[in-house]
Symmetry: C2
Subunit: 232 residues, 2 copies
């Protein structure tokens, strides 16, 4: 087959160069892992019309030779299935369900903890057309105002570091969650840290934390792709 | 080679038939997964002398043809390496590090949450010689009296159900954490639920919870081994 044509719709801030979605970061790392390049199209929360062809309203959206795939997890499965000769995202069929668990853990335990730290930074940096949508949808999710959610930053930061304990412990045995080399299980967690890195000046991690060193290793892979990403 | 001779030192309560350690349950499930039988030797927290030959003071301890292996995770690795022709505990080399993460998650996020619910039931059921040791070591770990730890049972129970969210979400896609059949990643989590089931009358799960149905499936595997275990 010829070279695949890939388009990736990514969440952008007011500054179109600011691509901060944690789920889009999972997909960017998955594409790089597979050695694939995609045209990256900036998209804002309220631009539902621009992705109405997908039948839903969230990014990432991958368009692969005209075929549309939504949701970062389904995109990872799609890439694994359609590019079987490239490096595996999972490291075998037995590992895929376990990576799915780690993705679920990241989205349900780690993501809300990080959100409490960075939520006002996100509000400041989304496009002005997105601001009312962002506030309303997130205040409904948390059941409080964003200012209340973010009020106790030291406690919120401590909760992030506490939530990372299973990662810290796993890294005592290997350089990456997936073992000696990174794979999708790493990107699931790393994507959430890139969300914070791109949108907020707050440093989530202490320099002596093994999670800090692991994040550094992932900032450096793929020619330093993540390290060179535009930050607010 | 001939039939392996296996001895497993297991934590027991005042009633020697009560084998409630979550880590020993991980090992029991791992042995059953490999189709192995072990002589199960009851052990109490304060019987350090009985396992002094291991150079440490915790169970599970597996003695395999005279070779001693401590710690449930290292026992799982040992069984996988030494019984490669039996069903795999991990489902491939790529899955082992991810199972290690899930084990770390279970021990750091789920275990303390369950402990808060059942801690006084454990205190009631350990051997009388173990009671002072148990109270002192656990009060140091929590930084509070056991009665304070256990005081708000409804909130503690809600926290367990909240902590199980990544399991619940993973089970939306497959019958087991490891996919279509159970493996060590499942036993890591299930072992903690067996801890509660054996030692406490409190039901951690609601009947409509997908985690409840998953636990039922694991209670039934290996001829209903876990379901028929002695409970307090």
């Amino acid at each position: 087959m010829g070279e695949a044509v890939l388009k990736l719709y990514e969440l952008a801030g007011a500054d179109a160069a600011l691509r901060f979605s944690p789920h889009c970061w999972k997909t960017r790392m998955a594409l790089a892992h597979k050695g694939l390049e995609a045209e990256r199209i900036p998209w804002r929360f309220t631009e539902k019309a621009a992705i109405s062809f997908t039948g839903q309203g969230l990014v990432p959206v991958l368009v692969h030779d005209g075929e549309t795939v939504c949701d970062s997890w389904r995109i990872a499965l799609h890439l694994e299935e359609r590019f079987p000769d490239r490096p595996s995202l999972f490291g075998g069929a037995g590992a895929m369900p376990l990576a799915r668990f780690i993705n679920s853990w990241a989205d349900t335990a780690l993501s809300p903890a990080i959100a409490r730290v960075i939520i006002l930074d996100i509000l400041d940096r989304v496009h002005e057309d997105d601001r009312a949508y962002f506030r309303a949808s997130r205040e409904q999710r948390f059941g409080r105002t964003l200012e209340e959610v973010a009020a106790d930053r030291p406690a919120n930061l401590a909760a992030v570091r506490q939530a990372l304990l299973p990662v810290r412990r796993a890294l005592a045995a290997a350089d990456f969650i997936a073992g000696t080399a990174p794979a999708y299980a790493d990107y699931c967690v790393f994507g959430l840290l890139m969300w914070a890195r791109c949108i907020s000046p707050v440093e989530l991690l202490e320099t002596g934390d093994p999670v800090f060193a692991w994040r550094d290793r992932l900032l450096d892979v793929f020619g330093g792709m993540a390290r060179s990403a535009h930050c607010a």
